[in-house]
């Protein structure tokens, strides 16, 4: 029997995208990432599973019990479902240790010593046993989220729900939380993760759901969704979040706008500072040395720049496609310093496409 079975789940409420008849079955040990544009019902779906939201119709059967039927003991079912929130929601009046001890004592009827050793165990699991006696306010966002995960784990849930666990975090803290989730996946925990972290989704999921307009638009293995999406919206979404694209003919030649847009993309991918600098420098040298002189001579000339992660080992490449001219811009002689910087930061790799130069950014 499957651990979680959702049939015909609908939720309509004012001002928010409704859920339209969702069907989903989750087996023991599955790790499911739910991705998609904002406001498409991803979080609502998750919150319907432990009934923080009440569905309009349909059924959610967890471990054989329908949480939507009236007689169900909601609290009993919720104990089987751990949840981690975007905003951590640690109890502000209790220390880290007490945050994990209190629910066990209140809800599982454990003695203090039992609850305490369990709490220490879980804190060790997320690498925070050293902060047991701190108050939540004294921790960084990433640490708070790890405590929140430990608190949920201490209840020994059968399934864990993550509602955008890294969205409220600084880029520098995302990794620590991602690693904890990764370890959980390796330990075989059944999980549903709503996330904008494509790398996380790609790396640990057994299945990826792409949601759009309150429906599961497409689902498949991470490879199917990220590398060969079948449906148009999925493709567009995956492309948009995994690559940066600027065409001087379409988007104009405002250099500051270009750099800002590139930087924004790098941030959204949670690139390291160093990596982002490399991308910006490579772009800047290519643009100002090869293309600016060309544009000055020929007003109709243009170029399209595409920065994307490619292939299995996530090579970061910048493709440059010349437009509106037959000349090869890279034939021009350029300043030696510029050439040195470019060589230092990127390697040109052969490309079979016409008018296209591809640079691999060095990591």
């Amino acid at each position: 029997m499957s651990l979680l079975k959702i049939t015909g789940l609908s939720k309509e409420f004012e001002g928010v995208t409704p859920l339209k008849s969702i069907d989903l079955t989750v087996e023991q040990g599955e790790v499911i990432s739910i991705i998609g544009p904002s406001g498409t019902g991803k979080s609502t779906l998750l919150r319907c599973i432990n009934r923080l939201e009440t569905p309009t119709s349909g059924s959610v059967i967890i471990d054989g019990e329908d949480i939507c039927s009236k007689g169900t003991d909601l609290t009993a079912v919720r104990k089987k479902v751990g949840m981690v929130f975007q905003s951590f929601n640690l109890f502000g009046h209790k220390s880290i240790l007490e945050n994990i001890i209190m629910p066990q004592m209140d809800l599982l009827g454990k003695s203090r010593s039992e609850a305490r050793s369990e709490a220490i165990l879980q804190l060790r699991r997320v690498g925070l046993e050293g902060r047991a006696h701190n108050m939540p306010d004294e921790l960084s966002g990433g640490q708070k989220q790890r405590v929140a995960i430990a608190r949920a784990l201490a209840m020994h849930p059968e399934i864990m729900l993550f509602d955008e666990p890294t969205s409220a975090l600084d880029p520098t803290m995302v990794t620590e939380v991602k690693n904890v989730i990764r370890h959980l996946a390796e330990d075989g925990m059944t999980m549903l993760i709503v996330t904008h972290e494509m790398r996380l989704a790609k790396d640990i999921s057994t299945r990826v759901l792409f949601m759009d307009q309150g429906e599961i638009y497409e689902q498949g293995t991470p490879d199917e969704i990220f590398n060969s999406p079948k449906k148009e919206l999925t493709r567009a979404f995956v492309l948009r979040i995994t690559s940066w694209n600027w065409s001087t003919l379409k988007n104009g030649r405002d250099f500051i706008a270009m750099i800002s847009s590139l930087e924004e993309f790098c941030r959204s991918c949670f690139m390291s500072r160093k990596m982002m600098n490399s991308c910006e420098m490579v772009f800047e040298e290519i643009y100002s040395n090869y293309f600016l002189p060309l544009f000055e001579k020929d007003d109709k000339a243009g170029a399209e720049f595409i920065l994307e992660a490619q292939g299995e080992n996530d090579k970061l490449t910048m493709s440059v496609i010349s437009e509106g001219t037959d000349k090869d811009p890279f034939a021009a002689e350029i300043d030696e310093t510029a050439l040195l910087i470019l060589k230092n930061k990127a390697t040109r790799i052969p490309s079979d496409k016409k008018n296209t130069a591809v640079f691999e950014i060095k990591i």
Binding site: L52, R78, M83, N89, F91, P103, L107, A152
Partner: protein, 507 residues
């Protein structure tokens, strides 16, 4: 957060010292020894302030003697006028000789102005329909007329021990006569500290009744009600410092007794040497607390203040909590009821709410004023407690509740274990302040005749005709009371918090 305890103690000590200092100043003001008046001719009173009881129509009379009165001021009780005269707020006030002499005897700071304004006569009033007036007049002439001056001295004197009445030990063959008697104007007819009706006119009526062999049933009531009681047939006779006037003679018949006059009471001339501070203080203390066991009255007042404040504080808090639990249900009707209730209480003064409860809602029942006060202040305190608690709950992030629910808490338990403890640091100091305000606000329960600390002070002021000492005593008592309460509430909270922390530490 925590204030230095040394600074705290210092500030409290200095506040008490300040109050005591004020007390000593007032004690000095009241320590004049001789009863020589400060003013002795009408000319000297030109350009001065003169006071009378609210509603007494004597401005023309005064103006005829003193053409240039600076202003007339009006007070609702005689003891307030004494206070005003002693503190210099007014320079003279009008009274009849009976009350005036009593004031002057009791208070060395006051003296009678030598020239009376107008001669008059006290009288005991009989209903127009009473056919036996002649018999009563004959009885008066026989037994009362001879001892009139003796009685006057007895009842206007300082010696409280002689102010006793004869027992009604006669048979009363001719039936019972009903007397409406004023309950608050010494020396003619008043309720003493132990609730017994006393006074010169009371004694006169008893003497006549004995002579005619009637039993007497007294009905103590406010001055404003006595004539109406006789006119309306509820009583046969009424008494209470009634001065015979043509208007009054049209509605009742009088048996005149003692002569009196309208007279001005002024401050006594500054004495050569003021009595010792401690002497006058101890005299004030004796009068305020020892005489007639008045400390018992103070104690009753203190207890009632505490009972009203604590009981209504606790009940109001519970009701407030209950309202928050109702509000959480998100029911439109309940919300509307709560909103109407809150607006109603917020829009009415506490006194008005109390009077409405006492005279209208419970007008027909025999429920005690203290109970009504507790009920009233519960109703007043509950919306305050409610709004403090409700807004503190709302100040807690929604995520806290969701996290608790997701772990498997019931909503009730989530509030108890997660939300309320966090809201506490917001609501606790606010509730504590509201409670202190409540305690101070209870000082209005005297309006519905509940004997609280303030009202006890008023009653004692009315009896001693000395205003400062009881007033300062009450000020200091309230101050200490509130300081103690703040201390107890904070300490109690500390102890609970520490105990919880210790329990958490136990492993």
């Amino acid at each position: 957060m925590k204030r230095n305890p040394a600074i705290r103690i210092l500030s409290i000590i200095s506040a008490v010292v300040l109050l005591c200092l004020m007390m000593s100043m007032t004690a000095n003001a009241a320590s004049a020894q001789e009863n020589k008046p400060e003013y002795s001719s009408f000319d000297e009173l030109n350009g001065k302030t003169i006071s009378m009881l609210t509603g007494a129509p004597f401005e023309e009379l005064i103006s005829s003697k003193i053409p240039n009165v600076k202003q007339f001021t009006y007070y609702s009780t005689s003891s307030d006028m004494v206070l005003a005269a002693l503190s210099g707020k007014t320079d003279a006030f009008l009274q009849n000789t009976a009350i005036g002499e009593l004031f002057v005897n009791r208070n060395p700071g006051l003296a009678l102005f030598p020239e009376p304004l107008k001669e008059a006569q006290f009288g005991i009033a009989f209903s127009k329909g009473n056919k036996e007036l002649g018999k009563w007049q004959a009885a008066y002439d026989k037994v009362c007329a001879g001892v009139l001056d003796e009685l006057w001295d007895k009842w206007t004197g300082l010696d409280e021990s002689v102010k006793t009445l004869p027992e009604q030990d006669w048979a009363g063959k001719n039936g019972t006569i009903r007397v409406a008697a004023c309950d608050s104007i010494e020396p003619m007819s008043y309720l003493s500290g132990d609730g017994e009706l006393k006074g010169m006119e009371v004694e006169l009526i008893l003497m006549m009744a004995k002579e005619l062999d009637y039993k007497v049933s007294f009905m103590p009531m406010e001055f404003s009600g006595i004539l109406a009681a006789v006119e309306g047939g509820k009583a046969d006779i009424c008494c209470g410092s009634l001065i015979i006037t043509p208007e009054r003679s049209e509605v009742v018949n009088f048996i005149p007794h003692h002569d009196t006059a309208f007279i001005l009471v002024v401050r006594s001339a500054a004495p050569e040497e003021a009595a010792g501070f401690f002497e006058s203080l101890s005299e004030s203390f004796r009068r305020t607390f020892i005489v007639e066991d008045r400390w018992k009255l103070m104690l009753t007042g203190l207890c009632n203040t505490l009972i009203i404040a604590i009981a209504s504080g606790i009940a109001g808090l519970l009701l407030g909590f209950f309202m928050t639990t109702l509000k959480r249900k998100n029911n439109k009707i309940i919300d509307a009821v709560i909103a109407v209730y809150n607006t109603l209480v917020a829009g009415l003064p506490a006194v008005v709410i109390l009077m409405l409860l006492f005279y209208v809602v419970f007008g027909k029942t025999d429920i005690s004023a203290v109970i009504v006060s507790i009920l009233g202040f519960t109703l007043i305190f509950a919306p305050k407690a409610y709004s403090v608690i409700w807004s503190s709950l709302n100040a807690i992030d929604k995520g806290q509740l969701e996290a608790a629910l997701a772990l498997g808490y019931t909503e009730k338990k989530a509030y108890r274990r997660v939300i309320l403890p966090q809201a506490k640091k917001i609501y606790f100091p606010l509730l504590r302040n509201q409670f202190v305000l409540l305690l101070k606000e209870t000082s209005v329960v005297g309006f519905i005749s509940a004997m609280d600390l303030t009202h006890a002070g008023d009653v004692i002021r009315g009896r001693t005709l000395e205003a400062f000492f009881p007033l300062m005593t009450i000020a200091i008592t309230y101050f200490i009371l509130i300081w103690l309460f703040t201390l107890i509430i904070n300490k109690g909270n500390d102890i609970i918090t520490k105990r919880n922390a210790r329990e958490a530490e136990k492993e």
